[in-house]
């Protein structure tokens, strides 16, 4: 609420500064490893941000969100294979098709609740996974190499690693801003209200289904854009990018970073992927370390890392201003 610098703001500002200046470090050292790693982190952070819109704000626990990564990616891959490499064709088409899939999947899934919703979104994503595996002319199980990245007009050359990184970063920041505007708009109030108490929402006159469906489509479309970026990043698409474990990774990022928080999914993506990078260098069984860590977050830090930062930020000013006001904080 206040403009005072607190732990949360410092962490977010530091993170954004590091992300913005990373290419400088790469240019100085000539070490492209970090830039490649962080390009991936930024793209998946954006995918997690899109998932947060439905999962964190909307309470729709989709276990099939990676399907849109795949759909977006495959549109780019298939078009490239067919000789259409213009980004002005590829990208809008990828977004439209991702959105269309989300519309159909959402229209069916959103009629269910809780575990059923989770299972049906999972089932749909697995169906799409197997369809992609059976596309023999587009590589089937082995996937499809993309020979040429999406073409835009100069000076946007996605084959330049630094340019591509900045394109991804700008899209990520724009997505975070978009989601922030969305969730605080009238539309967002409906989405959040439906998460908290759908029965009451209907009782006060909201046809909640259509709002939740539109939210689901927006999230799917945004994730499709992440898929477009991933395909351009790896110059490759394969069914593996929409495997259910990928959907699981996205959920972990959101939960770890903080549900219903603007920067939570990005923080989660950075944390998870850096942990993966560091721990997998230490041991092959790095998930043995990650698992308990995640358990701790779920058990003791419901708001994820961002929630912890927020508590840390709230602690001191509250103590000084009004000792009784802090009692409600758990």
């Amino acid at each position: 609420m206040s403009a005072v610098l607190n732990a949360r703001h410092v962490v977010v500002a530091a993170l954004l500064t590091i992300l913005a200046l990373l290419p400088l470090y790469t240019a100085l050292t000539g070490n492209y490893f970090l830039l490649t790693l962080f390009t991936r982190i930024v793209i998946l952070g954006m995918a997690a941000t899109s998932l947060n819109l439905i999962l964190g704000y909307g309470g729709m626990v989709s276990f099939g969100h990676a399907a849109y990564l795949g759909i977006g990616g495959y549109v780019v891959g298939i078009l490239a294979k067919e000789g259409i490499t213009s980004g002005f064709v590829q990208w809008p088409l990828a977004l439209a098709i991702s959105g269309l899939f989300a519309l159909v999947i959402g229209a069916l899934c959103l009629r269910t609740r809780g575990v059923y919703f989770i299972m049906i979104t999972l089932a749909f994503s697995q169906m799409i996974y197997y369809v992609a595996s059976s596309l023999a002319q587009y590589g089937g199980d082995d996937g499809l190499t993309i020979n040429r990245r999406s073409q835009f007009i100069e000076p946007i050359n996605l084959s330049n690693k630094t340019t591509f990184y900045y394109v991804c970063l700008i899209i990520l920041v724009a997505t975070i801003y978009l989601v922030w505007r969305l969730v605080n708009s009238r539309f967002g109030m409906v989405i959040q209200g439906a998460r908290a108490n759908d029965r009451r929402m209907r009782a006060i006159g909201f046809p909640t289904f259509r709002y939740r469906l539109v939210c689901f489509v927006i999230a799917g479309t945004l994730c499709g854009l992440s898929g477009v970026l991933i395909a351009n990043h790896t110059d490759f698409v394969s069914p593996a990018m929409m495997h259910w474990t990928r959907s699981g990774d996205l959920i972990v990022m959101v939960v770890l970073g903080g549900m219903a928080s603007s920067f939570g999914p990005l923080i989660g993506a950075v944390t998870l992927l850096l942990l993966e990078e560091v721990l997998s260098g230490v041991t092959e069984y790095w998930q043995i370390i990650l698992g308990p860590l995640l358990l701790l977050v779920v058990l003791f830090a419901r708001g994820g890392i961002d929630g912890l930062l927020e508590q840390a930020a709230a602690w001191r000013p509250v103590k000084v201003a009004d000792p009784s006001a802090g009692l409600g904080h758990g």
Binding site: N184, S185, N197, A203, P207
Partner: protein, 254 residues
């Protein structure tokens, strides 16, 4: 009764052999406060559920302002001006009291496919919401999170949410449930004010409140209407006395 706002005709509902609504006939006139009383398990909440659209009746018809609403979904009934409160407070606990009321205002301010402007900064939502809170006496608590409000304040907010939809009729399901005597008295005062502007169907266990407020009373026992009339008639009705014998003697006094 030509001027009935709500007409319930032959409404029937069974749950696995239990008769919840046994061919209920009931009319609520424009401007009256009509109370429905009855012992526990009489089917009062099921009746509200059917009126609000959450429970589909097996047979019968519900008319609101002349139109048949029996098959309308919940949100459409709200749009027509039929607002309800819940027996167990059903609020948005992570939002402030003002946010809650503002959502109810928003529901009746056109569609909500507005994606950009900050809804919490929209005066056309916040002002009517604030007015609804003031009306029930929660004005000073507007910016408090609902999870930090007391039980009595939750009950007040229940009413404010219904009022914020600018209804023509209120369906109140035990608004005084769990309230202390002081809070109940305040609620009675509020309802007495509201009944001047709105038609109200009130379900309530607090007989003192019911007899103080109601223009007419309908008594429901095992889903069946056993009596309907002015408070004095109900008080004198032997069948009603029998139904309440051993449960609440308050019917006799007052």
């Amino acid at each position: 009764m030509a001027d009935a706002l709500l007409q319930i005709e032959d409404l029937a509902k069974r749950f696995e052999g239990v008769v919840a609504s046994d061919h209920i006939m009931l009319e609520v006139e424009r401007g009256e406060l009509h109370a429905v009383i009855g012992p526990n398990g009489a089917g009062k909440t099921t009746l509200i559920g059917q009126l609000a659209g959450e429970v589909a009746p097996d047979s019968g018809r519900i008319r609101f302002d002349g139109g048949d609403i029996t098959a309308l979904p919940v949100h459409r009934r709200s749009q027509l001006g039929l607002a309800r409160s819940f027996q167990i407070s059903s609020l948005f606990t992570e939002f402030t009291a003002l946010d809650n009321a503002a959502l109810a205002v928003q529901a009746h301010a056109g569609h909500s496919f507005r994606f950009w402007r900050n809804a919490r900064a929209e005066h056309e939502l916040r002002e009517p919401a604030r007015a609804a809170l003031d009306r029930v006496g929660l004005g000073a608590r507007a910016d408090t999170l609902v999870s930090r409000l007391s039980h009595g304040e939750h009950r007040q907010l229940e009413i404010a949410m219904a009022l914020a939809t600018r209804p023509r009729m209120l369906l109140l399901d035990e608004p005084m449930a769990g309230m202390g005597p002081e809070e109940s008295a305040r609620m009675v005062r509020l309802l007495r004010e509201l009944k001047r502007e709105l038609t109200i169907l009130l379900i309530e266990h607090d007989m003192e409140a019911v007899f103080a407020l109601a223009d007419r009373i309908t008594v429901l026992v095992y889903g069946r209407v056993i009596a309907s009339g002015r408070p004095a008639e109900i008080r004198a009705n032997p069948e009603v006395r029998e139904a309440y014998l051993g449960e609440q003697q308050v019917v006799a006094h007052g």
